[in-house]
């Protein structure tokens, strides 16, 4: 096992990884920007290294700064968390070249799967079902347009280098296609530095279901069931759960089987996620592979009892996986709600600031992964995720009741600070969600039903944000 691991991330996930390390007797090195000097992981980790100023580009995204910190601290491995450098193949490679173990898949696997077009081709060959769409890079607008006409509308245009729900556009009509194509290319270039896009059929009423896999470097791979992440706004997940409610019997087993097949075909090593879209009639299609630990990994941990971050560390340290497919059993139901500092009454605009009060939920079968504490100043430079509230219960209905109770207990107050807690309670109480009959349109429907956008109030003494 490693002696010392550098955690190349911030926020709740940095703390989550540090805790896994501590339980395994591995020393930890946190890195932080000047804006994060008060961050929880800085005081929790055995050592902390300041790697640069607030903007991520010059701190958490700076490969030289992170690698230099790891070398000086004498770390033997680097855990990238999610976001930032976690799926940057070059970072993985620079770590390896400097004698640091990168806790994640080999750089060439990340590079191949990170190109969405290449990943589609590879998974199609491995026997995974795909939505009708492009398998090769599109050479021209005309070619893309012909393809879209063949597929039939609506179609979705996505950035090949994209991810995280950004850089995509839905086209409902052939006449709109070429303008949307050019706009998505321009957006992809601005966001990801690569204008390549691909086209596939768009399923407006699909459900987002993903399979967690673990694979070691000896050719062993297992899946740990599914997570339903259909509660999203603007392609950002708000609630995740396992098992996925109301799927046709045998579907998860089949998705798990092909995900393992795909992982082996790609030479995958570590924890990864295969994302699928499930149509209303129960057909599933491969979307993409996420080459990292995901935000929502705790729901899988709660129903399987497997600590995914510790598994990542063991696999990266070169241990053969002891977990076999027949050992993986799903018990009960788990849900995760993302408590973000955002204003649901103002189109989820971020509301960073100082937390005058921060009192997380507690009680039986409740887990809170957070870097928040009373007096913490949530910086404006990073993302709005403040806490993940996870509950477990023997059944989904009881997990929903428990989640409602836990959300009610969770208190976050501060000047200008708003959170998603109230909105999450609305979703948890929604009859369609409770029945498990929802799809990815649920958040828009609830927002539509709760009133006109014009009804939002501007808080006292505030100019009001759109």
């Amino acid at each position: 096992m490693f002696d010392k691991v550098l955690i190349a991330n911030r926020g709740e996930i940095a703390l989550r990884v540090a805790r896994a390390c501590r339980e395994m007797g591995v020393r930890t090195v946190a890195v932080y920007s000047t804006e994060d000097s008060e961050s929880a992981v800085v005081s929790y980790a055995d050592e902390a290294v300041r790697i640069g100023p607030g903007p991520s580009k010059r701190s958490y995204l700076s490969i030289p700064a992170v690698v230099e910190a790891a070398l000086r601290a004498g770390a033997d491995a680097v855990h990238p968390g999610y976001g930032f450098l976690s799926e940057d193949a070059d970072f993985a490679e620079v770590c390896t070249d400097n004698g640091l173990v990168f806790i994640g898949p080999p750089s060439e696997v990340t590079a191949r799967l990170g190109d969405k077009t290449a990943a589609r081709g590879l998974m199609s060959e491995a026997g995974l079902p795909l939505l009708p769409g492009s398998l090769d890079p599109l050479s021209s607008a005309e070619q893309a347009h012909r393809l879209a006409d063949d597929i039939g509308y609506p179609v979705i245009i996505k950035a090949a280098a994209g991810g995280g729900g950004r850089g995509m556009r839905v086209v409902h009509d052939s006449a709109e296609f070429e303008a949307a194509y050019q706009e998505t290319r321009a957006g992809a270039l601005a966001l990801f530095g690569d204008p390549q896009v691909f086209v596939e059929r768009y399923l407006p009423n699909g459900r987002h279901v993903e399979i967690q896999v673990l694979a070691d470097r000896f050719g062993n791979a297992v899946h740990l069931g599914e997570r339903d992440c259909s509660v999203q706004r603007r392609h950002q997940k708000l609630i995740e759960e396992s098992p996925a409610p109301r799927l046709p019997s045998g579907l998860v087993e089949e998705m798990g089987r092909v995900a393992v097949q795909g992982a082996l075909a790609a030479g995958y090593v570590g924890a990864g996620t295969f994302e699928f879209l499930v149509s209303p009639d129960g057909e599933f299609s491969f979307m993409e592979v996420n080459c990292r630990i995901q935000v929502e990994h705790p729901v899988t941990e709660m129903v399987t009892g497997v600590d995914l971050v510790q598994e990542q560390l063991r696999i990266a340290a070169g241990h053969p996986m002891t977990l076999r497919q027949e050992d993986v059993a799903v018990h009960g139901a788990a849900l995760e709600c993302r408590v973000n500092v955002e204003n649901p009454d103002a189109e989820f605009a971020p509301t960073p600031g100082v937390l005058r009060e921060f009192r997380p939920a507690g009680g039986p079968f409740v887990r809170v992964d957070t870097h928040g504490y009373p007096g913490y100043r949530v910086p404006a430079s990073y993302d709005s995720l403040l806490a993940k509230l996870i509950v477990w219960a023997p059944s989904r209905q009881r997990a929903l009741d428990r989640m409602d109770r836990a959300l009610e207990e969770f208190r976050v107050e501060g000047a200008g600070v708003r959170t998603t807690i109230g909105f999450l309670r609305e979703v948890v109480a929604d009859p369609g969600f409770r029945a498990g009959e929802h799809d990815t349109t649920i958040v828009d429907r609830i927002l539509r039903e709760r009133g006109e956008p014009g009804s939002r109030s501007s808080g006292e003494g505030v100019s009001g944000a759109a």
């Binding site: 490679e93 509301t351 404006a380 709005s384 000047a415 200008g416 100019s463 009001g464």
Partner: protein, 180 residues
């Protein structure tokens, strides 16, 4: 290291570099680096002595060497738990009572114009209508429009473009239109 990673590193160096000739041996590089650092330090100190207002951050770059200093902002540099919140609230409350300011809707970075180099949304003396956009505050990579909560006239912009702002902090002093 593969060609892909090499190319990228070279690209990043090109972005940063300003054309200082590359030195030969490791020793020469080290000497050059030390000299550069010394010169950068010297210039920084001289520059700091010349400016009247103390800056929040300073970045000086020469060749491959860059030098970053950041100072905590006065007002909330101590960061005692709870202190900042009450300071901000008091400030916000004062503003509300006097009805003479437009304030920031969130913690973030203030921008006076829709894009770099463009005309500012408003200038001193401008009359603005209720709901009219007067600025932008960037928080968590989102550009949040700041709108006038009532019709008023701008007396003075209080924040420079790109400056950090607190929740409820005054961005403009204003007078009500009927006082004109």
């Amino acid at each position: 290291m593969t060609q892909r990673a090499m190319n990228r590193l070279e690209r990043e160096f090109d972005d940063e570099s300003t054309g200082v000739p590359a030195a030969g041996s490791e020793y020469e590089k080290r000497v050059l680096l030390d000299e550069l650092l010394e010169r950068v330090r010297h210039h920084s100190v001289r520059f700091l002595a010349d400016v009247s207002r103390s800056p929040r951050s300073l970045r000086v770059r020469a060749g491959d060497v860059s030098f970053d200093i950041e100072w905590s902002e006065s007002g909330h540099d101590v960061m005692e738990a709870g202190d900042t919140a009450s300071v901000v609230t008091e400030r916000g409350d004062a503003v509300t009572r006097e009805h003479d300011s437009l304030v920031s809707p969130t913690v973030g970075v203030y921008y006076e114009a829709p894009e770099p180099g463009a005309e500012p949304f408003v200038r001193a003396g401008d009359a603005v209508e209720q709901g009219q956009q007067v600025g932008i505050v960037e928080a968590m990579k989102l550009m949040i429009p700041v709108r006038a909560e009532r019709a008023c006239r701008i007396v003075e912009p209080l924040k420079a473009n790109g400056e950090s702002v607190e929740y409820g902090e005054a961005l403009f002093t204003v007078t009500s239109v009927d006082e004109d």
